[in-house]
Symmetry: C2
Subunit: 416 residues, 2 copies
């Protein structure tokens, strides 16, 4: 069962969770002085509108018309009741998922890419830089840049650049220029940290250029809240008062935040972050100030972290291989408003294949982490007989991750 | 602008064009006797319900509830007004496309795969065989078989099996077994003709097994008419009386037929088939009885054909590399109700990239043929000032065809 809404139903404002957090957010610190950063510190990287959104405590932020026009190319996204999965599990739980895979780039990432491209265009920026690991974020920014007439330069982790040419081709089809990172060392396989350093250095050095980040920051999570706002309306249409549990996979925290943040004010709704056992930031990291990148160029953020020099194993869920987490997500977990769980990838792919063979769609490896947790909760409900309402984020499709499925089906996937 | 309909709006019956064709269809002939085939000749391959649909002259055929339940996982598909493409072209034409890429398999093919899997399951079939070239049809049948609990064996053209592993992995993720064809000759690169021969021979030799075909036959085009029926309702919702021109790419004819057939009774609506210049069945073939496969195992069909031993160049639009065409499409073209045009692939990929950079979505190479023709008509309208309404079939996405985009962007694509 799919609950669809007309294009007019895309929310007209983003929801800002900051005033509703269980404790005040701690400010980002300047990497040199270790004092709170001011707007002027961020001006070389971001347009003023985004800097204001990063620090605002207004509960709602209006979505500009040109952003809505583009979002309506695919939004509102469907909310789907996973009846076939429920039947296969024999659970009394009702499982819903919010399908963000229908965007042109195949994930939730364009929700913020479009907004960031718009505000940069308005500010006179003509060129954007960013980093990408597996390629979801780079694809989204390339797409958004094409629609707003901006040049886009993507620094792609060299190992991915070499092993996953299709994501590169997708970005180039939208007109982006893609180079392997680190640029300074052609022998280095690269990491998200090195690519962020490259992209930030490029933007800081050119007056026509700004930098765009696909997760972690407050304004990015703000832009993603259209996901949860739509889901609320769709659940009501399906006759549900509220979800009992909201689940999202968590790398930097943007798809999880997008779905979960609008439910923060309702204490009856439990929230769950799911991460890979191989990169267990929330479940095994420490809460501390740390850099967002490897080189220490970015402000220090107050978050759970495995250390900015942590190198996670090369699992297939590339979007979840980040040493830190969004300060907003970290705040919610630290103060008990959100739970966290970690899964090994073998269990995650078993869930992905069951989902594909019941609901029909093949999920991204990142998304499959949320599916695994939803299935486990549904199986727990089967034991207890609880008719809980489970809502999870179907953050992206797996059509550009089929190598991972091949490895799983052939038994080549380490379970770690 | 997207026009979306709720799941309840999926049509409850398929439209059968046969009584509305400009001339009676000529019957298929037995490959041995050259006499019209009877139902008993087809019984080893197809369940009775599909054989009856192949020959029916009823104007409407009811869609079974379990088929509707699965179709509603993604249907009704969106109808989109391509305003950004219109603006880029500066045309007074209004361009709409029906987006079939949103299905789990990424194309229109599941519309018939689901129906065929259902009728086979009802008839007690436990196993289906089919052929696939580039993999769109095999993916669709693998998906549908998973949802109806059938085994699925796909004979994949060996060259594609070796060069395009991701489509194979997608089929295997849904539980299908995939082998390269021809099975008898591991040195042979294979063709759609050899793969049909393998799949038919397998099905004919086992009582538990039937064969499924993804295009060409009457019942396949019948199942696809949900596309055009929905589009009619959506155009009305957008305030359009009718399209002036309906365009679809044409390999066997199923996506074109699905969109165009419901418009056949309205003489004000022009219809256009678009094919590759390298496989110009409708524009340069002869109208004659010919086999559907290379080995001559299938009935002889009355159609436009380049000869069943024709070997088209290996262009990227694998789904359009077929020597023949659906008898229904051939009938419409032969009697002047439908036009036909052929394009070289360089021009087709130019259109695909323009579409991706304006509307955001990356089309399949097959789909890009329809886009090329729609753009050319819109540019003609720019010259004449005509405000024509153009409707085309967005039959599938290009996310598993990115190698073709890489070749195009790098200038490696022959224009032929």
């Amino acid at each position: 069962m799919r609950i669809v809404l007309p294009p007019e139903a895309v929310p007209s404002a983003w929801y800002n969770v900051v005033p509703d957090l269980p404790a005040p957010l701690e400010p980002p610190l300047h990497p040199g002085t270790r004092q709170p950063v001011g707007p002027e510190d961020l001006a070389p990287l971001f347009p003023e509108a985004l800097i204001l959104q990063e620090v605002t405590s207004d509960p709602w932020v209006e979505i500009p018309g040109p952003v809505l026009d583009v979002l309506r190319l695919w939004r509102p996204t469907p909310l789907v009741r996973a009846r076939r999965l429920e039947a296969a599990l024999g659970t009394p739980a009702r499982i819903y998922y919010k399908d963000e895979s229908v965007s042109p780039a195949g994930s939730h990432k364009p929700n913020t890419a479009v907004a960031q491209a718009f505000y940069n265009q308005q500010a006179g920026t003509t060129r954007l830089t960013t980093e990408t690991g597996a390629g979801q974020w780079g694809s989204a920014l390339a797409f958004a840049s094409a629609l707003f007439g901006l040049e886009c330069k993507v620094y792609m982790v060299r190992a991915s650049f070499q092993q996953k040419p299709y994501r590169r081709v997708l970005m180039e089809t939208w007109g982006a220029s893609v180079v392997p990172s680190p640029v300074a060392d052609p022998e280095h396989p690269g990491s998200l940290g090195t690519a962020i350093s490259d992209a930030v250095a490029d933007a800081a050095g050119r007056a026509d250029t700004h930098y765009a980040l696909g997760s972690v920051l407050n304004h990015v999570l703000l832009h993603q809240t259209v996901i949860g706002l739509e889901a609320k309306e769709q659940l009501a249409k399906a006759g549900e008062t509220r979800p009992d549990l909201v689940i999202g996979s968590c790398g930097g925290g943007s798809n999880l935040g997008g779905l979960a943040l609008p439910f923060v004010p309702d204490p009856e709704v439990a929230l769950l972050a799911v991460e890979p056992a191989s990169c267990p930031t929330l479940t095994a990291g420490r809460f501390d100030y740390d850099f967002g990148d490897t080189a220490g160029l970015t402000p220090l953020l107050s978050m759970y972290t495995l250390g900015h020099d942590f190198v996670p194993p090369t699992i297939h869920a590339g979007g979840l291989r980040y040493h830190g987490d969004a300060p907003i997500i970290s705040n919610l977990v630290r103060h008990g408003r959100m739970g966290a769980a970690a899964y090994p990838q073998g269990k995650v792919f078993e869930a992905a294949v069951l989902f594909a063979r019941t609901q029909g769609s093949v999920p991204a490896p990142e998304t499959a982490h949320a599916i695994r947790a939803a299935i486990d909760e549904a199986l727990r409900c089967k034991e207890t007989g609880e008719e809980r309402v489970i809502l999870f984020s179907y953050s992206g499709h797996g059509l550009l991750d089929l190598q991972a499925y091949d490895d799983h089906l052939a038994g080549r996937l380490p379970d770690a």
